[in-house]
């Protein structure tokens, strides 16, 4: 069966789509990604679509699904490298991909994921600190 490879990079998963997408392939990717997020406890998913020339409503929906599912699994999804013609076409098609984080390229996408991970950690330590304060006041 055809599959798009998923690379594990520390707390993140990296997917580079280099082929012409068709429905079966997109569905397999959605399935594989969610399983990988769960198995590795990943905190972020980066999908590079710079080589993808067509995103229609089905593939757009899969991208949205991946983002929603990973959020439920405590991971952020960032789609990077969208070609301008694809962005224009998606909006005209009526699929603005709201709810999906995007970045211009892999480098910026990685930086965004790392920032989100760092923010999460500080939030966690802050809430722990608050709990400590509460303990002392009692």
């Amino acid at each position: 069966m055809d599959r798009i490879p998923i690379l594990k990079m520390g707390p993140f998963l990296l997917v580079t789509i280099q082929v012409d997408m068709y429905d079966r392939l997109a569905l397999n990717l959605e399935n594989d990604l969610i399983i990988m997020v769960q198995k590795n406890g990943s905190k972020g998913v980066l999908i590079d679509i710079s080589a993808v020339s067509i995103v229609d409503s089905f593939m757009g929906r899969i991208i949205g699904n991946i983002a929603t599912m990973s959020r439920i699994m405590d991971a952020e999804t960032i789609v990077v490298g969208m070609q301008p013609a694809v962005a224009i076409t998606l909006v005209e098609l009526g699929l603005p991909l709201s709810g999906v984080h995007t970045a211009l390229n892999v480098e910026k996408g990685m930086a965004l994921l790392q920032k989100k991970l760092a923010d999460d950690l500080t939030e966690d330590s802050e809430s722990e600190a608050e709990m400590d304060d509460n303990d002392q006041s009692e």
């Binding site: 020339s53 995103v55 089905f58 224009i88 076409t89 005209e92 098609l93 009526g94 699929l95």
Partner: protein
């Protein structure tokens, strides 16, 4: 309208869809269509060819280079002998779907092309014709 070049591709599996999209891109590139218009045309075609697979199981597409007055463009016909659409007006509305899709296929495809025509008879099938001009 003058027809310059024509090719029919049968659609019965996702592999055919990939081939069809590649051929369509080749035709669009050959007539010098801009990348943006190519993307719009192929995305619209991708929606319509999926409808053939999902609702009729199989069908055929015809890619044609057409010329009218000073314009050159690509015309694509999607033909199936599937169940047909009972209410075409309803099917053309955003968000309406009889399947489990988003309901963007038909109205979305219409927005992406210069000409869009749909003819459907319940029990006999559906034929959709689209044209995207080069400029």
């Amino acid at each position: 309208m003058i027809s310059l070049n024509k090719e029919t591709i049968k659609i019965s599996s996702e592999k055919d869809v990939v081939l069809f999209r590649q051929r369509l891109r080749e035709y669009a590139t050959k007539i010098g269509m801009s990348v943006l218009n190519q993307t719009k045309l192929i995305t619209a075609a991708s929606e319509l060819v999926r409808n053939i697979l999902v609702y009729a199981g199989s069908g055929e597409t015809t890619i044609e280079v057409v010329s009218e007055r000073l314009q050159t463009g690509i015309k694509v016909i999607f033909k199936d002998n599937g169940p047909g659409i009972a209410d075409v007006n309803k099917a053309m509305q955003d968000g309406y779907s009889s399947g489990r899709s988003l309901g963007l296929g038909l109205p979305g495809a219409k927005r992406l092309v210069n000409f869009f025509e749909i003819k459907s008879t319940v029990g006999h099938g559906t034929t959709v014709t689209i044209i995207r001009w080069k400029k």
